[in-house]
């Protein structure tokens, strides 16, 4: 990185212009310098370097050997396992976010009734979010143990059949999905609750005078006013769910037979278990592009709300 990109490229600014720019805005630039350096070293540079590696054959330590063009991408597109994992990642994200949103909304509406005990209930709802994700995953893995785990004890006590949760591919997917929902509901519930509490009480009073029942209240008042909250919360949740490495890695390790692998865990295995850093970098590029779409959507939403609020 000899020169500053974005300044030299495109606008054809000379060195003198850059110097003048820095002199004029010296104080904010210096103040931001530590942040920029850290973000460049740990986020921006590695992303760029990974992109380059995606087009190379690598050795077992990740060093680039030969330029191979789009080979890794072609191989990926042809690989049935990879395609299956892409499909599963989207299914995983959609299902998980759907249930997080649904249960989070229900929990928020219940907590917002302001009946006695709701303050304590709110505190209890937070707990799974406050809990460390890797440790929550360890805990669930223990609960899913088919013989000594307490989930099967609960099931048999309720008269339901005991299951081998993590050995059966379909069940293992459902089981990890359930943990993902479990970890995500608290954030959703809290954001929705904050959104609900921001709706002025007078709106509801006006509705009641007009004779609206709770159903009309919900459809014509609560939901429309909650829409901005809804959009941002589900989008953020989708990104986090798409990225949820820890849950899958700790509970099933992607198994049995890749049945629970999602893109991030599959990439990780490619890099650090199979030591195929080239294909793994190509996957990283794909993941980056998907996340970029999410991010642009987020910026658009943010910008729109900003304008609306102004």
């Amino acid at each position: 990185m000899g020169r500053a990109p974005g300044v030299a490229v495109g606008r054809a600014r000379g060195r003198g212009d850059l110097g003048r720019f820095l002199r004029r805005h010296r104080t904010p630039f210096l103040l931001l310098l530590p942040s920029l350096l850290l973000l460049f070293a740990i986020v921006a540079y590695p992303i760029l370097d990974t992109f380059v590696t995606a087009f190379y054959k690598t050795d077992g330590a990740g060093r680039r050997l030969v330029f191979v063009g789009l080979d890794h991408f072609r191989a990926m597109a042809k690989d049935p396992l990879f395609r299956q994992i892409v499909g599963r990642t989207f299914l995983w994200t959609v299902l998980s976010v759907f249930f997080k949103t649904l249960l989070g909304l229900v929990a928020a509406l219940l907590l917002n009734t302001r009946l006695p005990g709701m303050r304590v209930a709110r505190l209890l709802v937070i707990l799974p979010w406050a809990f460390s994700l890797p440790i929550a995953a360890i805990l669930w893995r223990w609960m899913y143990d088919s013989q000594m785990g307490m989930l099967n004890l609960l099931f048999t006590t309720l008269g339901l059949p005991a299951r081998t949760w993590l050995a059966d591919p379909g069940l293992a997917f459902g089981a990890t999905l359930a943990v993902s929902v479990w970890t995500g509901v608290p954030f959703m519930a809290l954001v929705f609750l904050a959104g609900l509490q921001a709706i002025p009480e007078e709106f509801y009073e006006a509705g009641r005078i007009d004779g609206a029942g709770w159903r009309q209240e919900f459809t014509y008042l609560t939901m429309p006013l909650l829409k901005p909250t809804f959009a941002v919360a589900t989008l953020l949740s989708a990104v986090w769910t798409f990225n949820s490495f820890v849950i899958v890695y700790v509970i099933t390790g992607g198994g049995p037979l890749n049945a629970t692998d999602i893109l991030v865990t599959f990439l990780y295995k490619n890099a650090f278990e199979f030591l195929t850093f080239g294909p793994a970098s190509a996957m990283a590029l794909v993941i980056f592009l998907i996340l970029l779409v999410f991010s642009l959507a987020y910026i658009r939403l943010y910008y729109r709300e900003e304008v609306l609020a102004a």
């Binding site: 720019f21 805005h25 104080t27 904010p28 630039f29 103040l31 931001l32 530590p34 942040s35 850290l38 973000l39 070293a41 740990i42 986020v43 590695p46 370097d49 990974t50 990740g62 229900v106 929990a107 219940l110 209930a121 209890l124 709802v125 937070i126 707990l127 809990f131 460390s132 890797p134 440790i135 929550a136 360890i138 669930w140 223990w142 609960m143 000594m148 307490m150 004890l153 048999t156 479990w182 608290p186 809290l190 904050a194 921001a198 941002v232 953020l236 798409f242 490495f245 820890v246 700790v250 991030v264 990780y268 890099a271 970098s281 990283a284 993941i287 999410f294 987020y298 910026i299 709300e305």
Partner: protein, 273 residues
């Protein structure tokens, strides 16, 4: 009718709470069972002879103290580094108008969405080349970078809320920019600074993927990775693992509850005004 409605609200909430809290019951109960009772099939709802020995023996059965020390150093180091970057950075974004500021703010917002997986291959190569695997430095720097976006965002908001007049008064009294930031703004934005510190601390304490990838020696592993690595063994001492897990998370849960309202607001920026 009303009784019925109130009743159904409590029943529904009760079901959700049961589902959310049942794992914590399992954790607590397991940590109170003896080693022999863990392996009874079917398991028991309550320990036959509740015991606290797991909480004593876990310290010698796994290197828990070492894991605690590692996590503490990494989390404190990351919090300090993030703060050192985010305080001046947040001030610049809050008080100065310069070309690229808007793009920078959006870029910061977007960094929040990136998965560490995208950068981990290169980071691993670089850290290997500089012989920084199995060091605190590697984990402090990476954790700080991933907490920085939210911290900058948070502090920018808090600094903006401090009235400009306060700052001007200090400037007239002859304070330099550095003095204004440290002696005037930071104390006035103390809740924001505290939230940033706690957020980074929790993030680093709970971090997994960097710890997993950048440490191979057990002596350098953070708590999360250290505890998780004990599951891959043939026979897992769940009683110790659950006791250790509870000890590892309770302090962080307490910290979390302190800042949770700020986090909800900060993380859903744009959703709530």
């Amino acid at each position: 009718m009303r009784v019925l409605r109130v009743g159904s609200i409590y029943v529904l909430l009760g079901l959700i709470l049961f589902w959310l809290l049942f794992p914590f019951y399992v954790m607590l109960i397991t940590s109170l069972k003896s080693a022999g009772e863990i392996f009874t099939i079917p398991p028991t709802w309550l320990p036959n002879a509740p015991t606290l020995t797991n909480y004593v023996e876990v310290w010698s059965s796994i290197p828990l103290a070492r894991f605690f020390l590692n996590s503490l150093i990494i989390a404190l180091g990351a919090a300090a580094l993030t703060l050192a970057c985010a305080i001046p950075g947040g001030y610049a974004l809050a008080r100065y108008r310069f070309p690229g500021r808007g793009i920078m703010l959006y870029a910061i917002l977007v960094t929040q969405m990136f998965s560490p997986v995208v950068v981990i291959i290169t980071l691993f190569k670089v850290l290997t080349a500089y012989r920084l695997l199995n060091t605190y430095t590697a984990l402090i720097v990476t954790n700080a970078a991933f907490a920085l976006a939210f911290s900058l965002w948070m502090l920018t908001g808090f600094f903006q809320a401090v009235p400009q007049e306060v700052e001007e008064a200090a400037r007239i009294d002859g304070c330099s920019t550095a003095q204004i930031i440290l002696k005037v703004l930071v104390p006035l934005a103390a809740p924001g600074v505290a939230t940033t510190v706690i957020y980074t601390f929790i993030l680093a304490w709970n971090e997994f993927i960097f710890g997993l990838t950048f440490t191979s020696s057990v002596r350098m592993q953070p708590l999360t990775v250290g505890l998780a690595s004990f599951i891959s063994r043939f026979s897992v001492d769940w009683n110790y693992l659950m006791a250790g897990s509870l000890l590892a998370t309770l302090p962080v849960v307490a910290l979390f509850l302190l800042v949770e309202r700020h986090l909800v607001k900060g993380l859903s920026a744009g959703a709530l005004k």
